[in-house]
Symmetry: C2
Subunit: 332 residues, 2 copies
C-alpha cells in the first residue's frame, strides 16, 4: 500500500498491530510522547546508530528484511561489547517517497526476527518523510548486568582475543559491490558464479554475503576477568587502536593467529587477494574483541597481547612491522 | 576546517573538548560502545526525534545554532509532556560534504545552550557522512519523577488547558517561508519590512520567527491533578485528537479562549489571515496541552472541556461545529 494513503499515523497503527510490543517492563510503549520503562538495574547502557542510504547500505543488493536485521544487530553488538543485555529499542525512520508500506513491514520483519531472539522490545521512535533516501536511526537501551566493560581497562601482559572469524563481512561486501544484482543468480548453494573473471562457488559467495547482510552478534558468556572490550565495526586494527588509545597501552598481534573462515580463504585465493587484509582493515564483523589475562579460557581466539607501548603485527616468519589504525572512517 | 581533514574521530574529539560532558550520573560518556548511566529512579522516559533537511528545516533561513537549539528543544518538549525531567541526550548526525566543522560546532553551541538550561548531559550518539543532506536524530532520556503522565487519562468533565499562546510558530514559519533570506533585512526590531505586499514591523516578524526557530519548552510545575498531557507539535486540533483517541473521550473547545499573542494578531490582521487558523492547525508550538479537573489553578489557559463523545469548536456567537484532527502528518 502507498504510504501517502496510509499516512504517518496509519503506518504507526499498522506497525503496532503487526508487531505488538508486550513486555512487563514497558509501562508505556509506542504512541505517547515518550516511552516509560521500568529499569530494575540502577545502571543502564544506551547506544545509538545511524544508517544512511548510499553511505551504509545499497538497496540494489540489500533487501529491506536484511536491512532491518542489520540495523538492530549493529546496535545489539554495541551493548554486548559493554557486557550488557539489550532490552529496549527505539526506531527512527526517514522514509522516501518511492518506499511502499510493504517495504517498511519487511524492514520491521527483519528487526522483529532478531529482537525476538534477544528478547528486545520496540518501545518508540519517530517516523517521518525523507526527501533524500532512506535514513534509519536506532537507539538501544540495555542493562549493565553488573559491571560495564569499557575500552579503557586493558593492561600490559593481557591477551587479546576475538570471538569469531574476521574478514568475512568485508569480503562479502566486496563481492556484493562487484556483483550487485548478479548476486540473485546464486539461487542454490551448489551452483557456481563468475565474479571478476573467476569462477566462485555460490556456497562461499552466499555465506560471505550473509555475514555482511545478516551479522549475528553473540554475547561473551564469561566476562569475569575481561579487562576491556569493543565490537569490531571499523576493522580489527582500528578497533584495537581504540582500546590502545583508551587504555594507554600498546599491542602486538600475530598474523597467523587471526581466525579466518574456509570461505574467506577459498574466495580470496581465487581472486588473488590477501585474506588477512580483509580481516585487519575490513570492519563490520560485529565480532567481540577483548583483553583478559593470558590464561583466560573460553571458546575465543587469542590473537596477540597488550604491551606497554607501540603497535605491531608479527608475521609467520617472525617479522615485526608497526601498524596504524587503518579502517573505515567517515568524512576521510 | 574541512571535515575531510578532521575525519570522524577527529571531529568527535574536538566536540568532546569544546563541549565537555561532566555529570556524576554519567559513568561512561561519549567514546565507548555505549554510554553507562546511573538512573536512581526506577522508571525512565525515552523519546527519539528525527529531523531531516528539506522536510523539517531549511538551511536558507535557519542557522546551525538555531537548528541545534530546536533539535534538543523538541525532544525536551516530549519529556516535559510526560511530566518528567530530561537528563541524558544522544546525538546522531548524518553530515553532508558541503558542511564544515564550524557548522557542526555552531550546531553543538545551540544544543549546548539549551542543554545547560535544563541540566542535560550529552552522553553519546553517532556521527557519519550523509550523501543526502543533513540528518539529525536525538534520543533524550529522562526521569519519570514519580508518575508519568500519558495521553490516555482524560475524563469527561475535565478542563482542557494550554500553557502558552498558540500559532506563533506557525505564523513564524509562514513568514520565513515567504521571506527566506530577506529575513536578514530585519536587522533591528524598530525597522519595517515588506512581506507579501504588506508592511510589517520587524519587531513582530522577528518575535514570531524566533518562536519557530528557538522554541522554549517549559515544564508544567503543578502536575498533581493533571489527568493527561501532550505537547503541541502537530497542531492543537491534531494533538487534542490524540488525547481524545487515547482517552476514548470527546472534546469541546471555545475559539475565543484560545490564547493568541499580540504579534500574531497584528501580523495576521495585516496579512488578512485568520490568526485562529494558525493556532488550531499550525503546530510546532511546543506548548503543553493537558487536561485536569475544572478547578485546576496555575498560570495556564483553560480553552475547553472533555466531553463524552464528539469533537467540537464553539465560536464567539455560540455556533458549534465539528472538528477533525487537522494538522501536520508525514506522507499525506
Amino acid at each position: 500500500m502507498k504510504l501517502s494513503k496510509l499516512g504517518e499515523f496509519g503506518l504507526i497503527k499498522k506497525l503496532q498491530k503487526k508487531f505488538p510490543c508486550i513486555s512487563s517492563d514497558v509501562l508505556t510503549g509506542i504512541g505517547d510522547d515518550a516511552a516509560v520503562l521500568n529499569v530494575p538495574d540502577k545502571n543502564i547502557l544506551v547506544t545509538s546508530d545511524m544508517l544512511i542510504e548510499g553511505v551504509h547500505f545499497d538497496l540494489t543488493y540489500t533487501t529491506f528484511y536484511q536491512l532491518g536485521h542489520k540495523f538492530l544487530a549493529v546496535n545489539i553488538s554495541d551493548i554486548l561489547a559493554m557486557g550488557g543485555n539489550p532490552k529496549h529499542f527505539l526506531v527512527s525512520l526517514g522514509i522516501p517517497e518511492n518506499c511502499d508500506a510493504d517495504n517498511i513491514y519487511d524492514l520491521y520483519s527483519g528487526i522483529h526476527h532478531i529482537s525476538g531472539k534477544f528478547g528486545i522490545t520496540i518501545v518508540g521512535g519517530d517516523t517521518c518523510a525523507s526527501k533524500q533516501g532512506l535514513v534509519l536511526n536506532g537507539t538501544l537501551i540495555g542493562n549493565a548486568a553488573g559491571r560495564a566493560i569499557t575500552r579503557s581497562g586493558a593492561q600490559e601482559g593481557d591477551g587479546i582475543f576475538v570471538t569469531d572469524t574476521l574478514g568475512d563481512s568485508a569480503m562479502g561486501l566486496f563481492l556484493l559491490m562487484h556483483m550487485k544484482k548478479q548476486i540473485r543468480s546464486c539461487k542454490s548453494r551448489n551452483t557456481r558464479v563468475n565474479v571478476l573473471g573467476k569462477t566462485l562457488a555460490c556456497r562461499d559467495v552466499l555465506s560471505l554475503a550473509y555475514k555482511h547482510q545478516l551479522p549475528q552478534p553473540a554475547p561473551l558468556k564469561n566476562t569475569k576477568s575481561v579487562t576491556s572490550m569493543i565490537d569490531i565495526s571499523d576493522g580489527l586494527l582500528a578497533d584495537l587502536g581504540h582500546i590502545c588509545d583508551e587504555s594507554k597501552t600498546g599491542a602486538v598481534i600475530y598474523k597467523e593467529k587471526i581466525p579466518l573462515s574456509g570461505e574467506l580463504l577459498s574466495v580470496a585465493k581465487k581472486l588473488g587477494r590477501d585474506p588477512v587484509d580483509f580481516a585487519l582493515k575490513g570492519g563490520e564483523d560485529y565480532v567481540l574483541l577483548f583483553t583478559a589475562p593470558m590464561n583466560y579460557r573460553t571458546p575465543a581466539y587469542r590473537i596477540g597481547e597488550i604491551i606497554k607501548k607501540g603497535r605491531y603485527i608479527i608475521d609467520g616468519s617472525g617479522r615485526k612491522t608497526r601498524f596504524k589504525a587503518e579502517g573505515y572512517e567517515h568524512f576521510k
